[in-house]
């Protein structure tokens, strides 16, 4: 599922010529994973400072 998602998302970025979204997406996915994993507010200020 993840593989086909990555292929499709890459195809989408190419079609829309929005490659600049990729690093932002990766950052967001990482932050998002952090939020999902921690499920709490303790990391929020940390993320906020970085963002």
């Amino acid at each position: 599922m993840i593989k086909s998602f990555v292929v499709e998302f890459w195809g989408f970025l190419r079609t829309r010529r929005k490659y600049w979204l990729l690093p932002i997406f990766i950052m967001m996915a990482l932050f998002g994973a952090l939020i999902v994993l921690t499920k709490g507010s303790a990391v929020a200020p940390f993320i906020y400072t970085l963002f």
Partner: protein, 611 residues
Amino acid sequence: MRVLGISAFYHDSAAALVDDGEIVAAAQEERFTRKKYDARYPRNAIAYCLEQAGIGLDKVDRVAFYDKPFLKFERLLETYVSFAPRGFASFRMALPLWLREKLFQKPLLVGELKREEPGFDWENRLLFSEHHLSHAASAFYPSPFARAAVLTLDGVGEWATTAVAIGDGRQLAIHKEIHFPHSLGLLYSAFTYHTGFRVNSGEYKLMGLAPYGTPRFVQVIRDHLIDLKPDGSFRLNLDYFDYCTGLTMTNARFDALFGGKPRQPHELLEQRHMDMAASVQAVLEEAVLRLTADVARETECRNLCLAGGVALNCVANGKVLREGRFDNIWIQPAAGDAGGALGAALAAFHLQGGGERTVQGPLDAMKGGYLGPSFDQDEIERRLTAAGARFTSLDQEAMLETVAGALADGQAVGWFQGRMEFGPRALGNRSILADPRNPATQKTLNLKVKYRESFRPFAPSVLREHAPRWFDLAVDSPYMLLVTTVAEQHRKTMTTEEQALFGIDKLNVVRSTVPAITHVDYSARVQTVHRETNPLYHALVSRFHALTGCPILVNTSFNIRSEPVVCTPEDAFRCFMGCEIDMLVVGNAVLRKQDQDPALRVDYRDSFEQD
């Protein structure tokens, strides 16, 4: 070629089945799950569509989803980036949801479809249509026009909030768009939020509230909130809105501009809220009129099709009609996102599949909007008996006579017949009916039957052939999507004292010979009843006319506040036992309240969620 259309995952999910361009079935998921505006994958609605066609998923050639999740995600991402670091709270709430499910809508859809048909070939059979193309297709393809301009207006789809398209034969192409965050739908929703109603569903309450107010904030809105150009294009001033970055629609600046904080749902409505409703309604109408004038000028079309949530604003639609820029206007009855399922299926058939389109004379292709489930008399009786109902089955003539007599005696009747309607309006198959001549009807229905706010007006169903004598209406309005005024000869002149009344106090003034359906400004949201599309309902209104001389019935959807419209005979019986309806008619089975077992009564009064 068979196409199944699906809309889901935001609000009001639905499914629709199209067979060689003919609309076979369409229904909203909420009707089956009994959860209002249910946004989950429409498993039940899909099962119903397939059952109605007598096929399995393996006989469906294409499945079309009504919008493009990646494009929506792109909008979300770009919005956060452009406002960062503001918007972190919203970002934090939204991102896990996207990462968990919304980004993976395609795998989710494939998984669900494979449960139905394990060998489902998604690579060749699953299609995604753009949100506003789905709306435009739902408005144009079923319309009775060979060529038409199409205007779609809503909160937001992927990027577009407003789109102009031209439909010609089987072709349909979007010509221009206005993009998020500039949106008439979101402007209206901001006022819906501030006046204490629920965004995405309370907009029609705001519209109903508007006639009680004075539009004293129009200039404030024009000066501060929206820059409205002569061609109808517009830009919102985002300094006053919170929806790009926050968790609410409006912010403190908006509150300061209108002199107060947002109303909480339990707080009383004040004159200020009514004035805000009147003002935003006036601004919306001005924007829509400018847009339609520009569309008429640019496209040189004499036919206009409308869809998108804003097209449910029947007051604005009525003004577009009276403005006279178009000879004919057709509005998709499921103009909101549920209709996107139908539009996606039709777009897949005509645009992607190259299917031809035939226009069927003066009638549209919606079959009166009666596209949902139906139950034959045997099944009705079996289901009612199992539910513990006590009923008498009559032949159709006797049933019509009984119901017309009960209505003329002032009773409220639950009327359940034939196929359920698709879209938010009950059009005479899942309706509560009453006598419009009775001055107490509006208050009684609101407080004892629907358990809802007493300011809300009811809509009339009028025999098409009598409509021009009772309303200022020269065209058909089969889907209750045009507001017009009660004809002069049926109005009652208000005394000076009555005219001086303000706000809700105006409600109790008898303003016409049909007060239950006459709003405080003499307006009415008319449904014209046609023998061709609903002969049984036409026959009932005709009987009532023969008894009373009045060819009109009050028609409100068969549900109580915060519940979806009833779908099955059991739903109808439960609703009947939970409110003060005097009589229920399901097919030819007649139920009287006094005959029912009191132990089966349901008390709904404390179970309301905000709707």
